[in-house]
Symmetry: C2
Subunit: 192 residues, 2 copies
């Protein structure tokens, strides 16, 4: 028997991503977003939701582009700081000692210091309510050599991405491996 | 210096959710979805992306509703199994010994055995490419008493939700707590 908790944004896990944009004057900016996820395999796309009141919102609309820089556990304080300040008031790259890298594919900067980044071209905007959903086509993913394994894939255990818990607004790390997808289910005991 | 990995769905972390629907004959069905995320705070909404080829796709379009049942680590084999089979061929609730519960708010069933569930009314459909994005307004969240803390909130460490790694297609658990959001960033050393 389950208890009703009301109409709340209690889906788990949520990501912790830094959304990179250029403002109207070309100043690089980042904001922290937890409302997002992959939304299409072909073309590869990712969705992020922003409030219209954010400084980044107008930048994405104007430049039709954004990046996602995925911070690691060691960068949790920075990621949280970036989520509390506005690019309207502050040069967050400068204050956080982060280096903006101009994407050669889209009109947006990414964070040099995060292990994994996605360069996205805006292809859809869906106004929902307080948040609008931006769908970005992923034109490239770039990773630090140190987090790429022998197969040329990024290793999630080396990236150590952050997880956001929307119930208590806490950050968590990645835990232990539980098994291979499209495989571990074959050993499910159906006779139990 | 980062290495280019190409245009791929490599955003981390991704969730592992069971999407519950009724088919045209009223048979309850679940499928596993990793392409999704919260997408609006007011009204509270969640987005999931499905391929048109899935059996669940038509059910969501017809009933304008779906649920999200969030499995725990102990249910990883079941969650994976559900992602490999189609409701067209199989009664996945029956085969997995799961009990469908008819939502009293939307025209969709949820899984009795998962610790946390969301009941969603379809408010937007966005065709992107191979996947279409469904935005569901969260009308209620329900949790098992055993995962609700003293403050009446679901405890992510008791729920133990699954994390999907899209790079290697592995499942992971939740790791350790790293700090409080909108707080830990205040102690960022800006002089470093």
């Amino acid at each position: 028997m389950k208890r009703s908790l009301g109409a709340k944004t209690l889906a788990m896990p949520a990501p912790v991503w830094l959304v990179g944009t250029y403002d109207t004057e070309g100043k690089p900016n980042i904001m922290t977003a937890a409302w997002g996820g992959i939304c299409c395999s072909k073309p590869p796309c990712v969705a992020i939701s922003l409030r219209r009141a954010t400084y980044s919102y107008a930048s994405i609309e104007a430049r039709k582009a954004f990046t996602i820089s995925i911070p690691s556990e060691a960068q949790v304080k920075m990621a949280d700081f970036v989520g509390m300040e506005s690019g309207k008031d502050l040069d967050k790259f400068a204050v956080c000692h982060l280096n903006p890298v101009r994407s050669d594919l889209v009109d947006a900067p990414y964070v040099a210091e995060t292990p994994l980044i996605l360069e996205c071209s805006l292809i859809h905007t869906l106004e929902i309510g307080l948040h609008s959903l931006f769908v970005g086509e992923i034109l490239d993913v770039k990773a630090e050599e140190s987090v790429i394994d022998k197969k040329g894939k990024p290793d999630i255990e080396k990236i150590q991405p952050l997880i956001f818990d929307p119930a208590h607004q806490n950050y968590f790390g990645i835990g232990h491996a539980l098994g291979k997808a499209f495989d571990i289910g074959k050993s499910l005991n159906l006779k139990e």
